[in-house]
Subunit: 411 residues, 2 copies
């Protein structure tokens, strides 16, 4: 909790950048002070510094009825390019963003599910990034963010453990790094999604919330009063591996009865097989096809699909109620590829279960939402991480100045 | 996340006070700067202010081999008295602390379990506080902290909901307040215990940890990187009402399968009754006597007691593993009256279950501890809350000075 002047200054810089990002049309220094709670002098000094290295610029000046025109500040899209890389089991998706975090172009390459060796996956990821950066060869490449499933050692740039490929301590950034001049930053999709959510609106940026990711795996990104919760070893958020049914179904983590074993896509398939083994909704072990068929069958009111939806909604509701009781958050946001297919139907049916199982005080205070279906919140999240890394690197010069005069950044 | 200069200064004041509290023998300004990470100038200015209003003083001066003697600073025990009040279902326990948070005297009065009406409980609480403050009539009463079970509206000073008495929105501080000149502050025992833990050592003060309270009710106080997690409506930490067994035992919260329904004292009694209905360990519905008899029977190796302990340890282990996976904490500390009787035996047997069910990365990073058996961590916790309130009130004059020169507190 001890905050040095340098840390506070750094944190306030990001408060200002987030506020600018949430107001793409431009915002005056005075409005920035109002919305951030920082003093006008602090905002003004931070803006001057950020303009000096080019991340923000004056979009235009608004002429008031009387007095001087007011400069409208924006994150300058022309300052350079940020790359966000979403590495999944079956694909690598790369998005380019301008420096105001607007998505520009994207590249997606398939990854063969049998190519599990780190060298093969890394080769494919490198290829996708190179294709994508070549599109913006005229611009300055600021930095690259990479998301990889599983547990990530952010500082070491390594994949500590990835279930899907059975990777252990793969030095990912080192393996990738030689090909690029820009610095690389690593995270997992859960934290990337939560970062994207934190930056998505002015309201969100100070909240305590949980972004749920419903997919093959299940997990959560947790933000506490506007800051990503990393935990001691950057593995916070493993909501999929909290117990839902003591001694229940075997989970791929080695434990039993985990949330993921029920509401992860393979868990939903298992429930469908248990309830309706002959169902035409089942497409063998193909998760994507089966979940899509389930979503279509729900929409057409097929009884067996509604059966499954009811069971899964109940399980989801219980697991969400636990989160609400434990963390008393402002919001729980449901996302991920299963949610993109089934989210509104799932959440609608989960709500009564949440209300039955959660305590009145926290459940009346929380809002439940289905994540907006924006392009790729994982790649956006790691692009934000890359932007943070970039800002930290250019403002490193100020970081060791604690005893020096503060250039007014603090008051 | 936006931090104004006033908020930062306030936060740094508490960083210094916590550091002084963790070093009762006295500490120099230079050492304070080292341990807090704050600059010497910030520490020096904060210390000067705190000395001006008398909370800290120079204990003595250490003479170095060469040079000037170094002042050793301490929280001044003579500055005044803090009162911590622990209101439970069957008693009210009041501790007096000096301003360095050393316990002095205490008063405990029984509360008749049938006297559930707020007026009756408040009357008993007021009486206990008056008895205790009368002992220190010669000293200045700084402030009073009150802990009450259930959900608490800290700002409104009200008990929002207390299961045990079926209270709803009882304006507790208003009912108590007339009798005392000092300000009163309200919290629940879970957060009080976590506050006491946060202040217990220099190591703890920056950690992410969970203090479990095992008693009739079950809950957790959560600290995130050195700050108490309150949540949106100050009800974070209801770990007892997270699901352990979907659709399991009825819980007094109205839900089913909650952690509390298994490892709360009534849940342990129920397990004992289910496994060994004729057991001599059972003392009807008397929780205290039965848990004490169970602890004694465990120590003497009675098979039926070991049976029960094994089941409860397994349930506790699962529920703790969920916390470890979700929050990736530095420490989980087991406390509460059930833990005081059974804690080491329970934790020892729970550990293998935690290791089986938690993910390797977070479980290898966390330390599990049984809370030290110190006098009354609840009353200490609310006395700390009272101290925080006192410091905030005396430094309120500085809070509105953001645009003014900062008196050097920040650099």
């Amino acid at each position: 909790m001890a905050r040095t002047a340098a840390e506070i200054r750094r944190s306030n810089v990001f408060v200002v950048i987030r506020a600018l990002h949430a107001r793409k049309a431009g915002v005056s220094r005075r409005e920035l002070a109002d919305v951030t709670g920082l003093s006008s002098a602090t905002v003004s000094t931070i803006c001057t510094e950020l303009m000096e290295f080019g991340l923000i610029s004056e979009a235009r000046r608004l002429r008031a009825a009387a007095g001087r025109p007011t400069a409208q500040l924006i994150l300058d899209p022309n300052h350079g390019v940020l790359i966000g890389v979403d590495v999944a089991e079956t694909y690598v998706h790369v998005d380019s963003f301008d420096a105001s975090l607007t998505a520009m172009t994207s590249t997606e390459l398939a990854i063969d599910v049998h190519d599990r060796a780190p060298e093969l996956v890394v080769c494919r990821v490198r290829e996708a990034i190179l294709v994508e950066t070549a599109r913006h060869a005229d611009s300055r490449l600021l930095s690259i963010g990479v998301s990889i499933p599983g547990q990530v050692d952010q500082k070491g740039g390594a994949s500590v453990f990835a279930h899907n490929w059975d990777w252990h301590n793969v030095p990912l950034l080192q393996m990738l790094g030689d090909a690029f001049e820009a610095p690389l930053y690593l995270e997992n999709p859960l934290k990337a999604i939560a970062l994207a959510e934190l930056w998505s609106s002015a309201d969100r940026s100070n909240q305590t919330f949980v972004s749920l990711n419903l997919g093959t795996g299940v997990g959560a990104g947790i933000a506490i009063e506007g800051a990503l919760l990393r935990g001691r070893t950057n593995s916070a958020g493993e909501w999929g591996h909290t117990t839902l049914v003591a001694d229940g179904r075997a989970c791929r983590c080695g434990s039993r009865g985990c949330v993921e074993a029920y509401i992860g896509a393979p868990g939903i398939l298992q429930t469908l097989r248990e309830l309706h083994p002959e169902s035409r909704i089942l497409h063998g072990d193909d998760q994507t096809q089966t979940i899509e068929a389930l979503a279509a069958a729900v929409r057409s009111g097929t009884p067996e699909a509604l059966d499954v939806l009811e069971v899964v909604s109940h399980q989801l509701g219980l697991a969400m109620a636990s989160l609400v009781n434990l963390l008393n958050p402002d919001a729980v946001i449901v996302g991920g590829w299963v949610s993109r297919r089934l989210g509104p139907d799932l959440l609608e049916r989960a709500l009564p279960h949440i209300r039955t199982h959660a305590l009145p005080t926290p459940v009346n205070a929380v809002s439940f939402e289905v994540a907006s279906d924006r392009a790729n919140s994982v790649s956006l999240g790691v692009a934000i991480l890359a932007l943070e890394g970039y800002v930290n690197s250019v403002s490193d010069g100020y970081a060791n100045e604690e005893v020096q005069p503060l250039r007014g950044w603090l008051h």
